[in-house]
Subunit: 238 residues, 2 copies
Amino acid sequence: MRKTADPRADRRRRAERILDAAGELLVSWGYRRVTVDEVARRAGVGKGTVYLHFETKEALFLTVLMRSQLALAERFLDDIRRDPEAVLLSRIVATAFRWVHEDPILRAVLIGDTETLGTLSRSAPDVAGDILDERWRVVDAYLDVLREHGLVRADESREAQRHALGAIITGYLTADALMPPGGPDVEGRAAMLAHVVRAAFETPGDRAAVHTVVPRVVALYQHMLDRLRQEIGRRDLS
Amino acid sequence: MRKTADPRADRRRRAERILDAAGELLVSWGYRRVTVDEVARRAGVGKGTVYLHFETKEALFLTVLMRSQLALAERFLDDIRRDPEAVLLSRIVATAFRWVHEDPILRAVLIGDTETLGTLSRSAPDVAGDILDERWRVVDAYLDVLREHGLVRADESREAQRHALGAIITGYLTADALMPPGGPDVEGRAAMLAHVVRAAFETPGDRAAVHTVVPRVVALYQHMLDRLRQEIGRRDLS
DNA sequence: CGCGTGACCAGATTTCTCATCCGGTCACGA
DNA sequence: TCGTGACCGGATGAGAAATCTGGTCACGCG
């Protein structure tokens, strides 16, 4: 590896390389079968070097998972900054659905794919339970903001809406195994999902309130971003 | 067992007892751990007697699964005969959701619960694939009837609708593991599910067409009932 | 004589034992 | 000083041995 005048940046880059390698192997083989040795080899470092950055195999892979969620939150913020209507629930849900098809790690996280995650599914709540809770709090706060401003219907309880949303998204991510082969392509599914969410959760009419809620929604996702970065930093030994 | 003048009815009753016992044990222990000996014991017969009725362990349990689906189809028909509006998609979906909470076997079937079903999940498509296909054909035909009569929107493809429906129902049956504990009770969930389906799939306004579609929908479910009975009869050695 | 039964058997599954693997450590060498 | 891979002890995997279980059918009872 080419050295630069900044050893800190070099270490950062090396950590990213390790995380990239770990992510690729996680997707290919699943947590259980990936060895730290193989990650090291793929990243072009020695095994001991991995432990210079991450205290345990688990810490390494939990960081991989969080990075993935960070990327989604960043995507949301980008979209909203580009187009304020991207703040709408149907837009957020469709974005998440599309992103899941680009990032298999995120998919594994969202559906608790035990084949990919192995014992991480079980340890994550103990080790990072507060950030999992935070995620749901952000969803709740987001729904609240949109309900207040008439962008999400308020004639059903927020509890029922959150549950329904979770169920619908989960179903969209997992139902293939139970249905006949085929069906719409990813884009077709994203469109129908957006339609379902629009029809069932949003209100008809004027979207002027979008501009009012943007700063608040941005703050929520920024907060989530900060929390994820903080959690990632907490496991970084370099 | 008290004998009657009708040996055939006695045998029928004994088969039902065996099926009941098998169903209870399937729910408690899952297919893999239930032995035919235990089923026999619970039904109060000898193990060989079970084989007088069902050729294999698999045939016995496939019959248990089909009986469960039969009961759901019968429930649909009852509801529709009592109230023609029960033919609406949102009503059908809510009924199925509620019934699933009364019949854990049906739940296992609908979500392909491998813990409960074990190798039945794999063998069912080979052995009873035509009836699984039939189920989807009935769903398609049902959607077609309702679309034709303006009771389901026709501005999305039927393919997209069927997929969305499958995804939403699946999510409602499986998402609990991925969400924080709590949320609405069964009835609250059924209501929200009905609302989502109504908003996303149904058309506003006049329901007069309900009376027109009832005979056709009844025929579809009756046909499904007949097929299930036929399939059950095919595996009955008594 | 008809039929319900549970002992029997062979293949399937589980348990146990031993071999190998792998997470984490750290002495070594660049 | 720091990147490394050999090392070690606990975890996991593989294969052998033990046990279980689906299916069969000879037996005995009504």
